[in-house]
Structures are given as structure tokens and as C-alpha cells.
């Protein structure tokens, strides 16, 4: 039996749009992972690895419900396919990860992602970004890692956004458990592309507010 793979579920009916997950992501991945030594950029929300966008009509949702743009940790990731140096890879837990040491900076992964999940910060970042880690580093195609740096030994870990959500809108766990919890209500985004994301969404009931 192979290793169990992780998955995330975002229930947009439980999300109140408080942005605690976004703040937690910025604090975890830009600040803490860099030992607090960098100055957080002005446009930090844009560079957060999970960022709220009000999808409105484009996704058939009500305008006041945010959709979170973030890496979907696809089973069949276009970014991994195009990466020339193997810097983008799927780890043993099913997380789509980036090895900064191998990244040549060709940006093919950014071009190939249909979810707009990667951003890149090209300006100087005040302070000293920690090289070799998985934190935010200028000049690299940054993306969600499910906070896999928090993993200690075997078993699950808790990503920062999950920890921060007071409304239980996010669930992180093993694939089969998450799918069971979704009770058949979850959808994958842009499913027709065959990317097989491991972030699921329970879409809001229209007009619930």
C-alpha cells in the first residue's frame, strides 16, 4: 500500500471572509520562515500563498464570497510537467513542492498553471530571506506548500491557514478522509483540464447571505 496523500477542503459556506487564513499565511511563510528578518512587502496579500478574490459572476458565485487562489496540488500538475530541472515535484505526501536550489527561474511553471497560483516577487526584499528553506524568497515562483515544513516525523501536520480559521471552513487531512467529510458536495476547479486538484471546494449556496 502506498503512502497516504494529503488533501484540503475549503467550505465556502462556512467562510466569512475574515482573512485570518491569509494573515496566517503571510505570517508563516513570509515572516516566520524567514526568521522574522524580512520586511513584509506592501502588496503582501498578493503574494500570500492563499489569497482571497471575489469571484463574483466569473465562477457563478455570489459576489461577496471569496474564492481562494492557491496551489491546487494537482495529481497531474502542469507546472511539474514543464519544469526543466525537476525543481517542481510531487513529494511523498502528494504535495506539489518547489526545490529552490534546483529552480533556474524560467517561469514555465507560472505560465503553465491554470489556477494563477504562483506569484513572483522581483524587487529587493528588505532584510535577509533565509535561503534553502521553503519560505518566501524573491525571484522564485512562490506557491502554497500546505506548510509542509511543519511536518515532524510521520503523520499529519497542521497548515497555518487551518490553524487560523475560527469557523472551520478549511479542513486538511488524508485524501480519503477529506473526501468522506465533503459528503459528495465538493468540486474541483477547472476539472475538465484533467489536472486532478487536491484542493476541493464546497461552493456556497447562492444568496445565503
Amino acid at each position: 500500500m502506498g503512502r497516504r496523500r494529503v488533501m484540503m477542503l475549503i467550505d465556502m459556506n462556512s467562510c466569512v471572509g475574515c482573512m485570518a487564513c491569509v494573515v496566517a499565511c503571510i505570517r508563516e511563510n513570509i515572516a516566520r520562515q524567514n526568521r522574522g528578518d524580512v520586511e513584509i512587502p506592501e502588496d503582501a496579500v498578493y503574494h500570500a500563498r492563499t489569497k482571497p478574490e471575489y469571484a463574483g459572476m466569473e465562477l457563478g458565485l455570489t459576489g461577496d464570497i471569496p474564492i481562494f487562489i492557491q496551489c491546487q496540488h494537482c495529481d497531474n500538475p502542469p507546472c511539474e510537467m514543464v519544469c526543466p530541472t525537476g525543481a517542481t515535484y510531487i513529494d511523498e505526501d502528494g504535495v506539489v513542492a518547489l526545490d529552490h536550489g534546483k529552480c533556474v527561474g524560467c517561469r514555465a511553471c507560472i505560465a503553465a498553471c491554470p489556477y494563477g497560483a504562483r506569484t513572483i516577487y522581483r524587487r529587493p526584499l528588505a532584510g535577509e530571506p533565509l535561503s534553502g528553506g521553503e519560505g518566501f524568497q524573491p525571484g522564485y515562483p512562490d506557491k502554497c506548500t500546505f506548510c509542509r515544513h511543519r511536518k515532524r516525523g510521520e503523520g499529519l501536520w497542521t497548515p497555518a491557514c487551518i490553524e487560523a480559521c475560527a469557523f472551520g471552513a478549511r479542513l486538511f487531512g488524508y485524501e480519503e478522509d477529506v473526501i468522506e467529510s465533503s459528503e459528495g458536495r465538493a468540486v474541483r476547479l477547472l476539472e475538465a483540464l484533467g489536472t486532478e486538484p487536491k484542493v476541493l471546494y464546497i461552493l456556497p449556496v447562492k444568496g445565503r447571505r
Binding site: 526543466p84 536550489g101 527561474g105 524560467c106 494563477g116
Partner: protein
Amino acid sequence: MGWSRLTATVGGVILVILFIVGIAMYRAGGGGEQALIPWGMMVVGYIFFALASGGVFDSMAIRLLRGDKDIEAHAGLLAWSSLALLAPGIVLVFSDVLHPGAAPYFYLSFNPESRIAWNAVLYLLYGGGLLAFTILVHLKGPTVPLARSIAAATLAFSLLLEANLGMAYAVNVAVPAWYASMAPILFIALGFAMGSGFTILTLRLASEGSVIAREYAEELRYTLLAAAFIAGWSLVGMAAWGDARTTVVEVVMGGVAPIFWLGFVLVGVLAPLAIASRRPPVAGLLAILGLAVYLAIPFNYTPQAARLKVNPFYMLLAQSGPVEAGLWEYVASPETLAFIGGLGVWLLLVLYRGKVLGILGLQG
């Protein structure tokens, strides 16, 4: 030194300065919003130089392998010109990638699914073959069996590189107007057309081969027609396909239309077709200019910009982005300086071929 040679030298030096300044500014953090338009003018630049280099070499090698006696006297010059076009292209590759120090992983951690990984291999094979052929031709001449064998192998690598550069676009499922497009065959056609143009200019700069320059002028017409036909065919095909249609509308009748119709169709195709037989160098120059414009904007920029309108995630990302991703931001960038400046490297290397070959000990 004649007036025109002096002018070309001054122009070449100015372009080389632009090349260096553009690269330095880009490396210092200049360039567009790369999450929205990931591939900018620097990428266009290295594709342009690779296709142009391949085009010059392909046509010369085919003639040589077919036993065309007229080309033998010019094989050394054209191989040199091809090498001089590849040189700025390779510099642009390593300037564009943000972490060139990781380049060994192209080979050490090779990903066979990635077209860019194959580009790294094909650049090496083509560049190596071209270099070996150039040296051999200057030392032994183009008709020795080894030179012919290297020419044949390098021709294959060149065509594969051109097609593979196109495939790096065509495998991209996230950019509708690139995905499953005819970019590989289009790039081969663009290579031949640009190659004809650069060959005519090379012969003119070196004051060589007026007869063969006329043959190349004729070839320019056929190859331009082929490139324009494939580009047009691609647009027609894309017009029928959902999200890609936005790109076609933008190119044919939207904001990019004046650039497409005037820059590509009129300047790059119709004008060279009309004057190729009478004024080959001008036709060659116009064709190169028009094809560069086509590659830079309708082909490279517009599909990326159109994605910001048709893909809801990119639409939202663009709305919250800290920097605009418009055409002006794309063009008015240090990357454009580097791209245009690369022509100066070619120009000076062709103008001063004799001196450089002398320094290298290859003056036959």
C-alpha cells in the same frame, strides 16, 4: 573604412551597449509583472536569435548537402553569421532565467516531459555542431566528408530545436491560444524566413555573393509566404476554439490589430514580397523586423494578456496585481533593449569576422 562600414560599426556598438544595459537593468529587478506575463521580451529575444541562427544554417546546409557549388564559397561566412546570431541568443537565455547558477540541473535533474529541458539539450547539440562545422569549414573547407557529416547532423539538431522551442508553447494547457497550436511548424517556417533575411544581409555586409543573394531573395518570398500562411491558419483554427478566440479577436481587430496588420502583414510580409527581387537587403531587413514584431506581440504577448481576460483566476489575480500587465509595460522594458541590442553582437561579429578569426587562429 568606408562610410557605410563606419556607420554599421557605430550602430553595432550602440546596439551592444543597449544589449548590456538592458540585461543589467533586467537582472537588477526590471521587467514586467511576471506572474501575469511570465514570458517577456527576453524570451522572445532568445527564440528570435535561435530561429534566425537555425534558419541561416538550415538553408546553407541543405544547399551544401545537395551539392550546390555556389554555396561552397560562402559556407564559412554563413556558418559564422549563424554562430554570431546564436551567441546573443544564448546570452539572453542565461540572462532571462533568474537563477542561472541552477543551469546544471537542466542535465543533472533532466525532466523528459519538459520541452525546456529538451531545449537545453538541443541548444548544446546544435551549438556544438555549429561551432564544430564553423571551425572545420574555416580550416579544411566545406566539402570534406567530415564537414558534410557534421552539417547533416547539425541540420537535424537545428530543426529539432526550432520545433521544440515552438512545443514549449504548444504544450501549455493554461494559455488557450498556445495550447495545441501549430507553433512547432510555425517556428521552423519563421526560422527559414528570418534565415533568408539574415543571409541576404550577411552577404551584403561582407560584399559577397550577389548571385546567391538573388537566390536567397527568391527563397525569402517562398518562406515568408509559408510563415504567413501557417500564422494565418493558426489564427483561423484558434478562432473556432472557446477561450483562444479572445486572442484572435484581439490580434485581428482589437488593440493589437494595428501592430498585426501594419507591423507583420504589411511591413513583414507584403512589402518584402513586393521588393524582394529588386532590393533584397531592404526586403530582408523588413521581413526580419516584421517577423520579430509578430513573434513579440501577436504570438508571445497577446495570448498571455488574453488569459487575463478569459481565465477567472488570472482575471482576479490581475485585478489585485501590484503592477499593470499592459502592452506598454511589456514593450517599454529593459528586456526590449536587450533583445534589440543583441543584433549589435551579430552585426559586429559579421563586420569584423576576419579580425576575430585571425585572433582565434582560424583565418584560412
